[in-house]
Symmetry: C2
Subunit: 324 residues, 2 copies
């Protein structure tokens, strides 16, 4: 059976041109560019909790980095370096070395696309658990925070919401999807594309930002609480795919849209004076950016339906000890 050192050497040691020292010492060494702050974030993915144990390992490698890249996007930071800690069941290492290869392939393909270097990590036996820490650079004082929203700001979202949650509902047997929809929704769930470039482009435009990982309402509420403001959003302005639209008469569809989670789009607020500039950015970058509401004085989040009535929802997002 492969040893801990074999696994690291064979699957998780690649050149790290942007690091002073990569994998293989007691610690890696990195150097921040002058005039930058470093953004640091970490996410832990657990089998049976965040993913089905039988999930395609290549997708899992992709997603374990993608969720962290998405946090960098939400800060406007350029991701640079990552560490990867893996607890692997003994049986997996003994019987399924292909799993490791596919996981590493998925991880490094995305890392390479974003020029992120894997500079360290840990490998151990245990119930399958993946913990990635990411470090990115952002110009000093320029990072997008949750706390910067101001009354009068527009509220924006990138891309469209709900497909990942719809895929999960499909996998759990709650809904049926057509063949073409299945592929698209499963891709949204398993191989999300974090908005890394967009995040950096929003510096100087947005007052606040967050990535939509727990669901639009839950994540927008983080902005509102951090900024001590209220908001009104219009449900029919929220961008979603045709697949989600078909289910919007059903509570499940509304839940996927507003509280689905796993979208990895950005929600951000920006002064109204930047409205046209953001629309131009949307056209230039060919990324859908939609204005879905506005920041108000006070507290609380109101969602209005097309008739102007308040939408109520039982659950606002995903909490790992209060699963909705």
């Amino acid at each position: 059976m492969l040893s801990e050192f074999d696994i690291i050497q064979r699957y998780f040691t690649r050149p790290t041109p942007h690091a002073v020292l990569g994998v293989g010492d007691d610690a890696a060494l990195i150097e921040a560019a002058a005039g930058t702050e470093l953004a640091v974030s970490t996410d832990m993915l657990v089998a049976g909790q965040h993913f089905f144990p039988e999930t395609d390992p290549r997708s899992l490698g992709h997603k374990s980095l993608a969720v962290n890249l998405s946090d960098m996007a939400a800060m406007g930071a350029a991701p640079r370096w990552a560490t990867l800690s893996l607890a692997l069941p003994e049986q997996l290492v003994r019987e399924n070395e292909k799993w490791l290869q596919a996981f590493a392939d998925g991880f490094f393909e995305l890392a390479h696309a974003h020029q992120v270097g894997l500079i360290g990590g840990d490998t151990t036996r245990g119930p399958l658990n993946i913990c990635v820490t990411i470090i990115g650079e952002v110009a000093k004082g320029k990072a997008l925070r949750r706390s910067g929203a101001r009354p009068g700001d527009d509220i924006w979202m990138s891309g469209h919401l709900g497909d990942a949650a719809l895929a999960l509902a499909y996998q759990e047997g709650h809904i049926m999807l057509e063949a073409g929809e299945i592929e698209k929704c499963l891709a949204a769930l398993h191989t999300p594309a974090p908005r890394v470039a967009l995040g950096q482009q929003l510096i100087g435009l947005a007052h606040s930002a967050i990535d939509i990982s727990d669901g639009l309402l839950a994540d927008l509420e983080h902005i509102l609480k951090s900024s001590s403001v209220a908001a009104v959003i219009k449900m029919d302005q929220i961008n979603c795919s045709g697949s989600v639209k078909k289910y919007l008469q059903h509570p499940l569809g509304v839940k996927c849209l507003l509280a689905g989670g796993d979208d990895y789009e950005l929600c951000f607020t920006a002064p109204r004076a930047k409205h046209q500039e953001i629309e131009m950015l949307s056209r230039e970058q060919e990324i859908s950016l939609t204005c879905i509401g506005s920041v108000e004085k006070g507290e609380g989040l109101v969602v209005l339906d097309p008739a102007g009535r308040k939408v109520t929802l039982e659950t606002k997002g995903y909490d790992h000890f209060h699963a909705g």
Copy 2:
């Protein structure tokens, strides 16, 4: 039951004076001091693998940070910031909130002692798993690496070895210990004191360094391989407690000493010209520093017994997929 956000808010949010932005956004923000490189390291501890599930949570909080501080020590870096990811069994959160309090107390007590700020993390349901990433500062180009050993260097170790491994052998019922010894050995196993200050003091003295986490021989071999050199060490020079000494006629005692692991002392090499300076450092700092051998040209590691015979050992250290 406590939510994910409650747990973070209640137990893991403390002031972080050295960070630009701490817990509570998509990422933390830190700024490296001018002229420094950042050392980054991560360790994952798994219940049933690295510790017994019933381990005192306060000790566990201490140890989960201590093993990472030890990596900073081995690089000569000053630890500054840490992230903490926790997978917690649902039952633990529901029935044993005291566990969380005690774990946090142990973690923060050590963090405070070393002025390390907890700047982020993740909390999720799952089999108990603790993943800490640590970031430290070290003057540019000055970090102690494994690769700097040169023929003619002395080989040094700090403190004494084997007590933690002896504690484990005791807990597993392989040996008996006297009452006074039990406490001392269990403390070595559960609340190791990483050599953080020493590591920084060795900059300018040592050519190479590593922390002894997997066992002296295994860790020294990492230095030898990274530096493309050989070494000879003398077993009777290796510093150990009276408890370990009593067992040195027994293979278990030799194994605890040479391959025990969990010592979190430093092993380093330094030019002979620095011998007196290191002895002075030892006296001034009241840390035992012992010269145990020398670096040679070639490859391989030879251990000599007091009669000058080569010692052979079945296992050289701990590997998480080849437990010795």
